[in-house]
Subunit: 121 residues, 2 copies
DNA sequence: TGAGCATACCTCGAACTGCAAGGTATTGCA
DNA sequence: TGCAATACCTTGCAGTTCGAGGTATGCTCA
């Protein structure tokens, strides 16, 4: 068994969630997204390009985001925005995420068997 | 090469976190842990035996928990408790988790570049 | 001029985790 | 006797993150 410090936990699905959240509000390109996530989370989340680009491609193929090529300041970039389907997906993921954080918080506090959980969809 | 799963479910590391949290407080056995997690989280987290047992074995090999065999009511069970190392590990994971939830919450709210994050360790 | 850096895109393999499905054995109850 | 619940376990698959590596262009500065 290797020491697992190499691979930080809790990152499953986080890049997709944050990317959708960003693209629902602004039109952005990949490289910009990488930096935005890093700086906005104060490097708590640091999804590299090896994560962001594959997620963007998958989301586009799914129809959750749409892209167009633009050249700005002599820089060729691929800008993405969320579609309506993407907005729906984001809303579902957000809800799931909030349910999870509530459930975990309760268990960590030891308030197990707590009666008031949000109903699981 | 599936585009993307329908839902990422954000479960990476959650079982380990909850198991350590439970075992820091109570001495429990595997089958019991499976049910405790399911009922305590109102099935928001439903880590099956195929998840819990491997995690228990890995944690024990790591020295984070300790086990002893006991027979109760004619039932042979393997009871686990957290060691001091396990408690330290739990505290680290908890902190990581709380940092992450704060960072994500801020980004979802759109309060990016928020100045007041907990310093990343 | 040309070296180096930042920008901007991309892909691949390794590593890890969660999960379903399946397997064994015992106890208790109808 | 048969069936469900208890209690343990392993295996193979699938999905994700991550780092390392690759390409190409524009800027700056010596």
């Amino acid at each position: 068994m290797k020491p697992r410090a190499a691979n930080p936990h809790f990152m499953n699905g986080i890049p997709e969630l944050l990317i959708l959240s960003l693209l629902e509000r602004n039109e952005m390109y990949g490289y910009e997204i990488v930096q935005a996530i890093r700086t906005s989370t104060n490097a708590v989340v640091a999804a590299g390009e090896g994560v962001v680009y594959p997620v963007l491609h998958a989301l586009e193929e799914e129809g959750a985001i749409r892209s167009r090529r633009r050249t700005v300041n002599g820089r060729s970039r691929i800008y993405y925005t969320a579609t309506r389907a993407g907005a729906r997906r984001l809303s579902g993921l957000s809800q799931q995420w909030m349910q999870l954080t509530q459930a975990v918080e309760c268990m960590l506090k030891g308030e197990s068997h707590g009666a008031s959980f949000p109903e699981p969809a």
